[in-house]
Symmetry: C2
Subunit: 292 residues, 2 copies
């Protein structure tokens, strides 16, 4: 997905928000903001938004002198998710359509982030997850089930820490000997890295690799040769989150994207309203009217 | 008021919105956006936000080749306000506290803008104005009444077209022979200029001058010597809208600011929540708790 002009003010605002999360030093906030403005003035709008985000967050880590400024937050997200997750595994096991429930919970995992950041009570996070089990899901779970059954190899691209614990619920529904799970190669915002896969217990369950990149998405040319080969050869790619969608939506590979639509630009791109849970692939696109 | 770091993403977003309102040419949207990013990267944050807005809108007029791109919108705002206004004059005449009703209506005039832009029905605009008559108003109308009674000369700074028709309701409550009304010296967004004062019938009622500037606020050093002298000598200045507040809030002159708080930065600066109607002056500040 290209960077839409509407992404630019959002990139500027998110940069400022991130700078404030990472440091209280107002001079760094100002310095990063000026550098982001300069960089976005010159940016190539043909590139996806995570390309700029990668540059910005590298610079923020330099300016703040913190190699992994979200590490503590990521640990909190994982802990909360590990506490909540056991409540939901029985829901999948007892469901008539376990894959759909697992897909919904994998997308729901995203709300942990919100819950922890804004200081919501555990009950409110539980309520938000509960909504994900009944809210409209645009996309055809049946075509995903078919693709899983037919795939000799599956590559699962994770998104955030915390959320990765809920991803495990979906990964448990896959043929484990044919699955590779990929995490980010270096710290980038609250995206999951190898230690988060360990925390989620995934490394004991399936093969886990890092993609060699510190972009908040999957910028193929920035990824390791190992990851690139796995991506090119996988019979099925399951991609979590909006960052992976933004970077891979133009790919010719057989990808199913699982995400919650988080902004008006992606809403327009997918034909689904902001907030909608979405399961889509180039071969099985969601209709513009937002089929469920 | 200085430019807060939070103003920057907002300036970028508003620039893009304005470019789209003024022209359908996407190359101009992109060009303006890049120039705004470059300019804000270098901007002096000690200056008020309207300083940057003035530069941006001058450039947008150049790029689009339109000298007064909001002229048609301003005419619509005036027409709608002229239709609605007669419904409200009796409310002032019959009120126990006519000045307070006139102050509320002058602030309410701001919603015309919103109503016309988003295609609200007339009834919805009427409902919004009706709310302004009962919503909390932070500030002391009594101290404004006292200042009016004691002032030998009053300078009234207008804000937008449309709104200026509602300003007339308040101006009618002032001693007309001691009032000068100021409008902007050149087209800037939908701010009122001399023709809007004529449309509102103000030029038949009081002395009207233009301030010689095309800033969306009152940047004194950019104003004409005539305006500067009137501003320096007026016993009382009544200032409408957030743009005038942002540019004049640090002034030592006896100013009463009438505005609706439209953003979190001004909310923090005034101690009032976003959306609140506010009457404040350096001598009679609103308490941080938001007194009514």
């Amino acid at each position: 997905m290209k960077t839409h002009l509407d992404c630019v003010p959002c990139i500027v605002r998110q940069s400022l928000d991130s700078a404030r999360l990472v440091t209280d030093d107002e001079e760094i906030h100002k310095q990063l903001l000026r550098e982001v403005l300069e960089a976005t003035a010159r940016m190539d709008f043909e590139q996806s938004p995570p390309v700029m985000a990668q540059t910005i967050h590298r610079r923020l880590r330099e300016l703040s002198g913190r190699e992994d400024p979200y590490r503590e937050a990521k640990d909190r997200f994982n802990r909360l998710a590990l506490e909540l997750c056991p409540k939901y595994r029985p829901r999948i096991e007892q469901a008539d359509a376990p894959l759909e429930i697992a897909v919904r919970l994998a997308i729901a995992g995203n709300v942990i982030d919100l819950g922890v950041k804004s200081g919501l009570e555990e009950q409110e996070v539980l309520d938000a997850i509960e909504s994900c089990l009944t809210d409209p899901l645009s996309g055809d779970v049946g075509s995903l089930a078919k693709a899983i059954a037919e795939a000799g190899s599956i590559l699962y691209l994770t998104d955030n820490a915390g959320e990765i614990v809920f991803d495990r619920l979906l990964i448990e529904q896959l043929p484990l000997d044919r699955v590779v799970v990929a995490v980010k190669g270096g710290p980038i915002i609250n995206d999951a890295t190898y230690v988060d896969a360990e925390a989620a217990g995934l490394t004991e369950l399936v093969r886990v690799i890092d993609n060699g990149s510190d972009a908040p998405g999957t910028i193929l040319e920035d990824c390791s040769p190992t990851f690139q080969r796995l991506f090119a050869e996988a019979d099925l790619v399951i991609s979590k989150g909006q960052g992976n969608f933004e970077t891979l939506s133009g790919s010719p590979r057989p990808i199913f994207f699982l995400l919650r639509v988080k902004c008006p630009v992606v809403a327009r791109d997918t034909g689904c309203p902001t907030g909608r849970m979405l399961l889509t692939s180039p071969e099985h696109p969601v209709l513009a009217s937002g089929t469920q």
